[in-house]
Amino acid sequence: MIKSGQADDKIVLLAGSDEHQFITAFFNLFRTARLYDPNNNVYLNQSSRFYDIFRRLADRTGEVPVKIIEGRVLVGDRLVRFDNDGLIGATYVIDSWRLLGIGGVILGKNLDNRQLDKFIYLVAKANIRESNNEIVAQRLVELGISGVTLLGLEKREDAQPFLPEDKKRQLRQAARMTFFRSISTVEDILAKARESREIDVAKARRVVHTLIDQLAEDESYLLQLTALRDFDEYTYVHSTNICVYSLTMGIRLGLDRQRLAQLGFSALFHDLGKIRLPGDLIRKPEVFDEHDWIQMQRHPELGVKTIFRNMELNEFAARAAIVAYQHHINEDFTGYPSLRHKRPLNLFSKIIAIADTFDAMASGRVYMKRPIPHDEILRKMMYQMSVKFDAFLLKLFVNIVGMYPPGSLVLLTSNELALVSQTNYRNPQKPKVRIIGNESGPFQKFIDIDLADPDNAHRRIDKIVDPHKYNIDTRAIILIDD
């Protein structure tokens, strides 16, 4: 029997060393099985080693599900990161499974050595032209391999997106709902804080929980929505965006739920000090002068004071306070405020500083009063990364937003105008895009495609287009749901 591998996939945490060892040994075993017969010592040694690792994991978790979703490998609900070498090995197995229509396997607790070897050879030697997941499943039954359950890709055609359309729509709707609810709640919290200095901590935590749950479900739709910078008052959207970016980074780093919640909480309140600055200054359309800057540079300190005055001291408050204070301080201690003691910057401050810089530049609403195209922001940030940002974290951030962050407007070599909808982390130059028009004019029906798909080989990104320059309202494109 083939089960659906997509029903409740959640990517919450990064795999630990056990899962990493497990998947590396598992994939190696497939590759070895292609080259050697089952009695060869090379295979036997690897098989025995893998079986030990499997048993250890199975004893702990009961069964071990391995799923491949959008090219990402999950062991249980943990996402496996591969280094260069590992990725090559993994790609081989992922591709061959995909061609067979296998979306994953569940290795049951009752799987023994003999069943394992039979299964490995069954899949490794399967002829992809003549076989498919149905045939493999049938053979599993015939060979008495009861310890393995296949997970299918359902009726997936290579050129089609992985998820069925209704599931995608559902996810998009949920992401939108979460995103706009978050903006609304942030608005409530900050407005209340501005009026009475009271901070609704519980409400803020609820927002963060929802965002984490949504990101765990699918990060791409929320990341796409961060491009809606004009939706509401800048501060609220900006705070929500920073929360989304930071949480995505936190998830990639493998932070546990509690620390993720703290990271999101800190992100929401990173600019809290601004509620104590004059509204005219925050909304000032012109470039800031020296006097404006003197005031603006006080917001980190005001943020700390507001947090400490109004919140009970705990990890949430302390983390929010340090982020509020440090998020404009660069790795080389330039920026503001100037520090009396130059202690290493806090991890959350570094993460939020990167997200904040990116979003602020992209919005052109504060500091630099002009939106800067995404590629230019990344280029600038990369140029400065060795001294201004934590190089590794910036690398991680670029991995998330991609060369062409969601919301970027691009012109394709096919002379089509498209909006980037999702980063393709395995092939960053070829993200998923929504084609919205061509030389003849805007399309009546938008086309969602994956530039990495071989069918779209003739389409490449030619250049990034500045939507402001051409009066293109990217918000309308993102919100249209086909």
């Binding site: 280094d83 609810r181 609820r206 004071k305 400490f308 001291l313 204070y325 009396r340 991890l347 960053p428």
Partner: protein, 597 residues
């Protein structure tokens, strides 16, 4: 079917009815106590069985009742037994328990509720606790969710239903021309120029984002291919860095961080109002640090204020006064009472941390610190406070002396202990008032404390306690005096022997004193012992006989020539008994001499 359903509802009612009671009972005992654990286990077993039978179990929570399948299955009984009210106030309006809600989840669920009800630190938000626990079989619905549902409708009307062409702003011909220009390969305006991008040089310099880049100079263009290869491949070293980052972050200490931040912002203010706000925040956090038992961090804040106050002293007297005030408040009764509560709750707080913390305050706090002794439950902490006062109260004995008039014996004992440790003439004068205190534990504390001190004044004071009616006190005092005299001379022993009350002491104690006197008193002691040895020329009392026996044993250990001569003389006595005892003493001396050789 209806019967099963009724049975299920009945069981739900039963279990919900017992919930608060079981939690309260288990909360009263330590986790490892078998009795409440058994109660909890049998309760959670029943709960899980119920969920398995009725899953999915949807419970609607209302302000005073819980609804299952549109029927009230639980209603709050009293303010103390109000599960519905408790959950509703926490922000929940529904709970769903599914088939996969297993025993482990149930125990976790139970323990979260317990922490919440008990108001344990960090457990003030039940929904956050549920979310963090991530129990697979439990979903919950919040009051906030319900409110936001209304917002969704509003959002949908705001976002509208955009028309396909509406992404081009404006519908005039110029907009269409702008759109067409996108596809014009020669349109140099397609990308903004570098100078446009970085025109706000003031912003860049304030944000520190232009390291040595001359104005208007382009940021170097990084080759896309290089970014792709360098950025998108996480290398092994990157993965190791992730682990390192996570481990480093796990050491995050909110108290240390808060202290460091306050240290930074204290130096930032521009006017007194601003400064005053910061000091107020420091005062607030200082209390929170104490409540959390973080005495080192709390002490750091005091030091910070003292240090800043010293610097501000001459230039900004108003600021310095504000800080002095804050430090005085920190060492005041209210804050130290918070400290006492914390110490009683967290008995593991190190006495060293406590002493170091108390040492931050001036003599003004000594009186309050002395009073602190009344409230402390842990002996370790009381000892630490006594040690502290013994060192820091030396010049302010009056504050401590006040406590010896307290009605509570243990308060008096603590004061006595401190005074004894100080041991100054003033302290000893105060202690004299306690020599006749009816509570023996106070006198015992004095004798024990003074016995640990090696100075003459303390030992002299101890001679007063040799006459105490309590045997333990008497013996302890005596041992201390003898120990002192064996090394420092017989003066104190002479006083005791010459005291009229000497004969009233136990014989064993008299003997110890005489033996010690003989060892230390030299020729002077021989003279005294010789008198005892021949006492009662014709008949002797029992007491004289005792002293006579002791005197010969004492002469045997007296190393002077006089003792030797005296014994030799007595060995020739016409009294056989005296002669025998003297000869035995001489033999003892001889044996001893030979052993020494």
């Amino acid at each position: 079917m209806a019967e099963t359903s009724d049975k299920t509802k009945h069981e739900i009612t039963q279990i919900l009815g017992e919930f608060i009671r079981v939690i309260k009972i288990t909360a009263m005992y330590p986790e490892d106590n078998p009795l409440p654990r058994k109660l909890r286990d049998s309760f959670t077993d029943r709960f899980v069985d119920l969920v398995q039978e009725a899953a999915p179990l949807l419970l609607e929570i209302r302000p005073n009742e819980i609804i299952y399948q549109q029927e009230v299955v639980y209603a709050d009984k009293s303010p103390e037994d109000a599960l519905a009210g408790l959950l509703y106030k926490a922000g929940l309006n529904g709970i769903t328990l599914r088939q996969d809600f297993n025993l482990e989840d149930c125990q976790k669920f139970f323990s979260l509720l317990k922490s919440y009800i008990n108001k344990e630190p960090g457990a003030g938000d039940l929904i956050a606790l549920f979310w963090e626990a991530d129990l697979p079989g439990l979903t919950y619905h919040t009051v906030d969710d319900a409110l936001l549902d209304e917002y969704d409708a509003e959002f949908l009307s705001r976002s509208g239903d955009p028309v396909r062409e509406s992404f081009i702003k404006g519908a005039d011909d110029s907009s269409k021309l702008e759109y067409a220009a996108i596809f014009d390969a020669d349109d140099a305006a397609a990308l903004p120029s570098q100078s446009d991008l970085f025109e706000d040089t003031l912003a860049e310099s304030k944000m520190g984002l232009a390291p040595g880049t001359p104005r208007k100079q382009k940021a170097p263009v990084i080759d896309t291919a290089r970014i792709v290869s360098e950025i998108f491949n996480l290398e092994k070293s990157d993965m190791a860095r992730v682990d390192e980052i996570i481990q480093e972050d796990a050491l995050f200490d909110p108290y240390q961080t808060a202290a460091e931040l306050l240290e930074e912002i204290l130096w930032q203010p521009r006017d007194f109002a601003d400064f005053n706000e910061i000091v107020t925040i420091i005062e607030k956090l200082q209390t929170e640090f104490i409540k959390a038992g973080k005495l080192r961090a709390a002490g750091r804040l005091i030091n910070l204020m003292v240090e800043y106050g010293a610097q501000a002293g001459t230039d900004r007297p108003q600021w310095a006064r504000r800080l002095q005030e804050a430090v005085a408040v920190a060492g005041g009764r209210e804050k130290l009472s918070v400290l006492a509560d914390t110490l009683n709750r967290e008995k593991a707080i190190s006495p060293l941390d406590l002493s170091e913390y108390l040492a931050l305050f001036g003599w003004e706090s000594l009186m309050v610190i002395t009073d602190l002794l009344d409230d402390l439950e842990s002996q370790v902490h009381r000892e630490a406070v006594c040690d502290f006062l013994a060192v820091h109260g030396r010049d302010h004995v009056d504050f401590i002396t006040r406590a010896i008039y307290d009605k509570r014996w243990y308060v008096v004992r603590n004061a006595a202990s401190i005074l004894a440790r100080i041991g100054s003439p003033k302290a000893l004068a105060a202690l004299e008032k306690l020599l006749t205190h009816p509570e023996p534990r106070i006198r015992l504390e004095i004798v024990r404390r003074l016995a640990r001190k090696g100075d003459l004044e303390s030992r002299r004071f101890l001679t007063n306690l040799v006459w105490d009616g309590d045997d333990l006190i008497c013996r302890t005092a005596l041992e201390a005096v003898i120990e002192y005299c064996l090394s420092e001379g017989p003066e104190l022993l002479t006083g005791i022997i010459n005291d009229d009350r000497f004969a009233g002491l136990k014989e064993a104690y008299q003997e110890s004193i005489i033996m010690a006197y003989s060892r230390t008193g030299g020729d002077q002691a021989v003279e005294y012992l010789a008198r005892l040895a021949v006492a009662g020329r014709f008949w002797t009392t029992q007491e004289q006989e005792f002293l006579q026996r002791v005197s010969f044993r004492a002469l045997a250990v007296n190393k002077t020539e006089a003792a030797e001569k005296e014994l030799a003389g007595l060995a020739r006595s016409w009294k056989r008994k005296v002669r025998n005892m003297a000869q035995a003493a001489l033999r003892h001396r001889e044996n001893h001499r030979q052993e020494a050789v």
